[in-house]
């Protein structure tokens, strides 16, 4: 009888060698699987931006008649806003999931595993990015049926997707950071309200030069205005220029970093509890 020494060919891996990416992908897959297992939780996040794009463009159809309005299709103006809102709430939805996981004890179990702490943020982040891609694609497809057109060709989709992914990243960091700090549904109201205000206190409904009074002043200094402007680049008449692009990219980069740092510090605080 021949005995084979397995230890020479198959050495057990140290738990310390668990890397961020595989753990993150595992957590992302868990979140994505939940979409199919619990569609009632995800479908509203698809339906609301679709409804918003259609309802806003129908209700405010006539604003394109205001002299100087940058597009002759109201759906072109409101579709990118709906994508930004939908992607943002896809990120914030990850915060809701984190609250449920905290209340259900899933996070306690995760912290007992050798999964790197960062994967508890990057995993949900990857899931939010996938959700954002789904939302953007579906909203664009439905919006196209309702008359939305890319005024500068398919390249106009790039800033739309970038803005969607960026805002989903910010929403995830913000949502997770609040979830880790509050650890219950009180965080949900703060997540939604702050995000809602930040998005609407921009040129969400009309361009800056059409606004009057306080909103124009607030929107001018609101960095999220640049993100919405970025999302709209491919849908408005003025040409896509770097001048209109870099502000949005910078806002996404800075606020993504801050939001993810906020989440990481929240997670560290959670570990000390």
């Amino acid at each position: 009888m021949t005995t084979v020494d397995d230890t020479t060919t198959h050495r057990p891996r140290s738990v310390a060698a668990t890397r961020v990416l595989p753990a993150s992908v595992g957590l992302m897959r868990r979140s994505i699987v939940n979409i199919t297992r619990l569609p009632s939780a995800f479908i509203p996040s698809i339906m609301m931006p679709i409804f918003q794009a259609i309802a806003f463009s129908g209700t405010f159809f006539a604003i394109i008649q205001i002299p100087g309005f940058p597009t002759d299709r109201s759906i072109n103006w409101f579709l990118p806003l709906a994508v930004v809102m939908g992607s943002g709430f896809a990120g914030i939805g990850i915060g809701f999931t984190a609250i449920r996981d905290l209340e259900g004890g899933f996070y306690d179990r995760m912290r007992l595993t050798p999964a790197p702490r960062w994967s508890l943020i990057t995993g949900p982040l990857l899931a939010a990015l996938v959700r954002s891609l789904i939302v953007t694609t579906i909203v664009f497809a439905v919006g196209s049926l309702f008359g939305a057109r890319l005024t500068h060709g398919p390249i106009g989709l790039v800033p739309l997707y970038v803005a969607g992914l960026g805002i989903a990243t910010i929403g995830t960091g913000w949502g997770l950071g609040l979830a880790y700090r509050f650890r219950d549904m009180r965080a949900a109201a703060i997540m939604q309200l702050t995000f809602f205000l930040l998005i609407f206190l921009t040129e969400a409904q009309t361009p800056l030069y059409i606004m009057e009074g306080w909103l124009e002043s607030v929107a001018r200094i609101n960095p999220f205005n640049n993100v919405i402007r970025l999302a709209r680049l491919g849908f408005v008449d003025p040409p896509m220029t770097w001048d209109d692009t870099w502000g949005g990219l910078l806002a996404i980069a800075v606020f993504s970093a801050l939001a993810l740092l906020f989440a990481r510090r929240g997670l560290a605080r959670l570990s000390r509890v």
Partner: protein, 273 residues
Amino acid sequence: MTVTATAPAPTRPELHQSTVAQTLAMSKRSVLSLWRQPSLVVPSLIFPLFFAALGTASFARATSIPGFPAVDSYLDFALAGAVVQGILFGSTVGATALATDIENGFFDRLLSSPSTRSGIIVGRMAGGMVYGFFQTIFFITVLLPFGLSIKGGVAGVLTMAIGGTILALAVGALMSAMAIKTGSSEAVQGAFPLLFIAMFFSSAFFPRETMSGFYGTLADINPISHLVEGFRDLTIEGFSLSAAVRSVVIPAILAVLAVTLALRTLKHRLAAR
């Protein structure tokens, strides 16, 4: 030995057992529950004001669009939408409380008591009606210093307040029917977007004359459009019989239909026990 005969307790006046007295007692409980939980109702005061302020700053120049009624400012136009929006949002609170009563068994205890069935339902809606009246006056009072002018004067304000009160009954009854049918506060909350959709497919935010296609058709047949326009005419044109009738009769018809539906739903629920 002294024997003390206990005198029979004085009988309560007949009125205390009447339908009116029972309904009043339930109404008092309903009003108190709103008063004691301001966090439930504050959003329905803040958000309509926020949207009115947002719209006034965003759409100030839209008032010159063909089809837009002659107004001093968009704020005058926006008031009616803000009032109806607030009442639609606020009236779901009472129905949610009714569903909670069903969930925690209080509703069953009421049913097993000798109280009238209609008193239980109407009493629960009374809180919403009082709140609807308060909301109407509150929105007008808050917006007056910001330049709101009501051409209909005191009569116009009173008519709007009465219309708002009846609308609160209608919406509360409709949502109560949902609460009785499902016995779930989550289901009542879940039905809330339907009210949101009904409001958006109306002339609550922009005039019907500026809408086109299927959207314009939906707004034409939506009773909320005609109700809002009654309120709006009282604000921007002055008091007229036509505006007063639309402001009061439309919500009254809706209220009769909704209360009938709620009582029928209750009857079916009782029959199924």
